[in-house]
Amino acid sequence: MGTRKPTLRVVGKPHRRVDATAKVMGTTKFADDVALPRMLYAKLLRSPHPHARIVSIDTTRAAALPGVHAVLTGKDLPIPFGILPVSQDEHALALDKVRFVGDPVAAVAATGEEVATHALELIRVEYEPLRAFPDALDAVEHAEPQIHDYADAGNIHKLIDLEFGDVDAGIAEADVVREDLFFFEGNTHLPMEQHAAVADWSPSPDGKLTLWSSTQTPHYVHRALAKVLELGPARIRVIACPNGGAFGGKSDPFGHEIVVAKLAMMTGRPVKITLTREEVFYCHRGRHPTLMWVKTGVKKDGAITGMHFKSLLDGGGYGSYGVASTYYTGALQTVTYHVPRYRFQGARAFTNKPPCGPKRGHGTPQPRFALEVHIDKLAEQLHLDPAELRLKHLVPAHSLTANWLRIGTMGLGACIEKVVRGSGWREKFKRLPAGKGIGLACSSYITGAGLPIYWNAMPHSGVQLKCDRGGGVTVFCGSTEIGQGSDSILATIVAEVLGLEPRDIAVVTGDTDLTPVDLGSYSSRVTLMTGHAAIQAAERARDMIAPHAARKLELPLERIGFAESRVFDVERPERGLSFAAAVQLAEAAEGTIGTVGSYTPPPSPGKYRGAGVGPSPAYSYSACVAEVDVDAATGIVRVPRVWIAHDVGRAINAASVIGQIEGSVYMGLGEALMEEMAYRGNRNVVHKIPSLLEYKSPTTLEMCDVVTYLVEDPDPNGPFGAKECGQGPLLPVPPAVANAVYDAVGVRIDEVPITPEKVFKALRRKEKGEAPRFGPTAFPDIAWPEPTRVPPPWEGGDGKAVGQRDGRTVGQKPVSVDPRR
C-alpha cells in the first residue's frame, strides 16, 4: 500500500499555523478570558516574611466582610504536593511555615477582586520570624535553621557526585590544564500572560470539578488536584487553555490552581484567580542562580583528556523540578565535544526566595555558558582557532558518551561551518577594530526527557484520531499549546500521512476529559513524542481506509496513495476517490473510523543512579556567532547581530522553527545582557524588582538582527527525522556574547548577565594591570558524598555503577540493559 513516500507534501513546508487566525483576531481563549455566570474572584494573602513559623491566623473579620464567600488557610488543604515524587514539599497555602516573601498563606473568594483584596487586609497572621537565607553560599555554610525538614544535608537539598572513568588520571595525561569559575545569575520566564485559573464545581451526586488554567502540564495538575483534594481523578477535568507564553514557568502544579478548585467546591460557584505581575514573580520556577567550577585537561590539539565540573544551585524555597535541574547542570557537558573521562558534582541549596525550576534550557544554559567560555579560553591558551578546536573534537554521530547518553544524528559540525562562513568569522575574529568583537559558542539540547516525571510504564504521549464521513479528521492529544506551535505539528503530521491539508484537521488538545495523556509541554518533547503518536494513529487510520479504496478501485493495496485530499492509484493518479468517499467506504464496512497512537521513548543505556536525567531520543545542536560593540568608556555592550545555525533534524514547519530560533536568541540575549532576579538580602530578602518595568526584558531597540540557518540531518528517532528547536538555540547566545566581549576589549566576564558595571570594572582592572576579568573567585567546600563510579563505554562498562547490584536508577524501575550500542 501507499507507504512509498516519494516526497513530503506538507512536512517541511512553511505553513500557516492552525491557531494563527484566532490569534490575530484576538479570539483565542486564554485562561483569564474564561468567564462563567456567578463567578467569584479569589485573591491570595502572601507572606511578608522570608522565613517564619506561622503562629496563628485569624480570618474571622475577613469572612464577615460583605461580599466574601469563603476564606481558606493551609489547614484546609493539608496534603503536600510537588512536581517531583521526591520533593512533595509544597502546600497550596503555607501550613505551618513560610519560606519566602510572597509565599501564599490564605485565600479569599469574593464577588469581586476589590472586595477580595480588602478582605485580605482583614486577615491577621502572627508570625515567628526565623533566620533567613538569602543565597546558596549562606545556606551551604549554615545548616540551621533548616528551611525544610528533609534535605541531603542541612540546607543542602540535593547532593550529587558522579564519576565516569578516572578523571584525575585523565587530567594527568593533559598538556594543558585549566580551571575556571563562573556564575550564572537567576532569571525568570516572564510570560506576557499572568497565570490565571478558573474552577467550576458540579455538586453531588456528580461531584465533578473542572479547572481551566494557564498550565503547560495539565496531566500533572490533574494528579496534584486529585491528591490534595482527595478526589478521584475521574471526577476532575483539567483544561489547559492556550498559554500566553510559558517557557517552563507554567509547568509546575501551583497552589493557586488548587485554591480556586477548593473554593469552588466550598462555595458552589465558579471561582477565578488571575495573578498580578508581582505574583508571577513569586511563582517563578525560573533559572537557578548557579556557581560553577570547571577543570579540564587537554592535549595540544585541544583533545579533552578529562573534565571535572562542579555546580552549586540556589534553589529557592521549594523543591520544584530542582533535583532534575541539578542533574541537568552536569548532564550535557559530554554531548558536544568528546570527553573521555568526566566527573560531575552538583549541589542544590534551599534559600528563602521564590522557588527556581525549569526555564527554557532547564539547568543546561548555566553549564553551557561555563563550558563554552572555558573552551574559548583553552583555545586561546593553545593558540588554536576556537571554531577549529571545536570542529576537530566533535562527538561522533550515533555514539555513546562517557555518561552513557546515546547520540543520534549530530549536525554540530555543519552548524559551525554555517555560522563561520556566514559571519565572516575568519576575517573578523581578532581582527575587528577596538571595541568591536565577535564570539562563537555551541550547544546541544534534549528532544524530550527519556523518562517521565513519575515512574510509570505507560506511553509519554497518546493521540486519538477520528475520521468523519464528511472527510474531516479530528486529532485529540493531551499536549498543550504554549505558543510553540504544537497544535499545528499535530495537524501537519496527520495531514501528511492522510494526504490532507493541515487546515482540514481539527485539533483538540490539553483537556483531560477529551484527550489522551501527553505529559506536557516541557523538555522539548512535544514535536517528537506527540509526532510519533500522531503518525501511528494516522497510519492506522490509513490502514483502515486503504483496503476499501483498493477494493473499490480494483487495485492491489500497494498501489493506493493518499494525497491532495484524495485516495488514488499511485501509478495512474487520475484514478481515485475523494478522501471523504474513501472514509465512507471504510466506515460502511468497518464501523466508525477511529484510531489511537502512542509513544514511549527508547530505554536509556545508562543504568546508574542518576542516569534518569540526560537521556533523550535525540539531541539537537546549535552554533552561534555574536557580534558586539563595547563602549569602553561606559562598559555598555550592544549586540547588533547574531548568526545561528540549528540542527533540527528535519523542520516539520520551517517558518515555525525559525520563529523558535529567533525567540530563543531573544531570550538568550536578555539573559546575556540584562535579565536577573534580584533580591535585597539585607532587606528581608524581598524581590528587588518584581515588575515589567524593572525586570529588564529587551525591547525592539535591544533585539539584535538574527541570521538563521537550518541544518537538516533527519534523526532516526524523530518523527520524519525532527529534533527540537525551542530551547537549544538559547544556550549558545550568552557564551557567544561573553566570548565576543573578550574579542572586543580583552576582558573576561565570567558571569551572566554581562552588565555595563561588570565590563566597566573589568576594564578598570585591565588598565591597572590586574587580571582583566569579572567573575566569581571561589567555590565553597561542600561535603560531597562518595562518588557513584560508572565506567564509560570505552572502558568496558555496562552502564551500571561499580558495585551496583540491580539496574535501579533515579525514578526508574529496573529495566534490562539495552543491547544496542
Binding site: 499555523r17 487566525t21 507564553g245 517558518a655 531573544y666 531570550m667
Partner: protein, 173 residues
C-alpha cells in the same frame, strides 16, 4: 456613592455603544469585563508592557491607564474591530502568514500599534518600525517576524504585490 455604575456612550469598533460600569474602572477592564471583548490583553496593568494597547481616537494607548469614563464620546478600536466583512486586515493576514504570533497574547497590541503606524507612515523603514513598536513587549518572537509582517502588510496596503522573503520562511541558505 462612587461605586454606583456610570454609563457612557462611545464609538467602539465603528459602532455606537453604550456601557455601564463601576466608575473607577479602566478602559481595559470595561472592554474585557463589561463589554466582553477579551481580545484586549493585560500583562502588568501599570503601563509597563504595552499588552493592553488599543486605539483611542486613532492613537495607540495603554488601556490599563485610561479611565473608562474618559472615553465618553470617543472612538475606541480593539483587535476585534480589525477584520472587516469576514476579511482579515492585511496586518492580521501577514502576522498569520509569517508566524508573527506565537503565543498570541501580545499580538492584538502589536497589530493595533502597527496599524496606527501604517496609517501615519505607509512606507516605514525597519528602524521606524522598531521605534513605533518599542513600547510593546513580546517574549516569544524576538520581534523579527513581527517586523517582517509589518513590512509585508505595508507593501500590500500600498497595493504592491508582496510575498515573504525566502529566508523568512526557510532560513538562510
Amino acid at each position: 456613592m462612587p461605586d454606583a455604575k456610570a454609563k457612557i456612550a462611545l464609538e467602539l469598533n465603528g459602532e455606537p455603544v453604550e456601557v455601564a460600569f463601576a466608575p473607577h474602572k479602566t478602559l481595559l477592564e470595561v472592554l474585557r469585563e463589561d463589554l466582553g471583548l477579551t481580545g484586549t490583553k493585560h500583562g502588568c496593568e501599570l503601563g509597563e508592557c504595552g499588552t493592553c494597547t488599543v486605539l483611542l481616537d486613532g492613537a495607540p494607548v495603554l488601556s490599563c491607564l485610561v479611565l473608562g469614563l474618559a472615553c465618553a464620546g470617543r472612538r475606541v478600536k480593539t483587535v476585534e474591530g480589525m477584520a472587516e466583512r469576514g476579511q482579515l486586515h492585511p496586518l492580521q493576514e501577514a502576522f498569520a502568514e509569517l508566524g508573527a504570533a506565537q503565543c498570541g497574547y501580545c499580538t492584538p497590541a502589536f497589530l493595533l500599534t502597527a496599524e496606527a503606524l501604517l496609517l501615519e507612515n505607509p512606507r516605514p523603514a525597519r528602524d521606524q518600525i522598531k521605534q513605533a513598536l518599542a513600547g510593546n513587549l513580546c517574549r516569544c518572537t524576538g520581534y523579527i517576524k513581527i517586523y517582517q509582517a509589518v513590512e509585508l502588510a505595508a507593501a500590500r496596503l500600498r497595493g504592491e504585490p508582496a510575498e515573504p522573503a525566502r529566508e523568512t520562511l526557510y532560513g538562510h541558505p
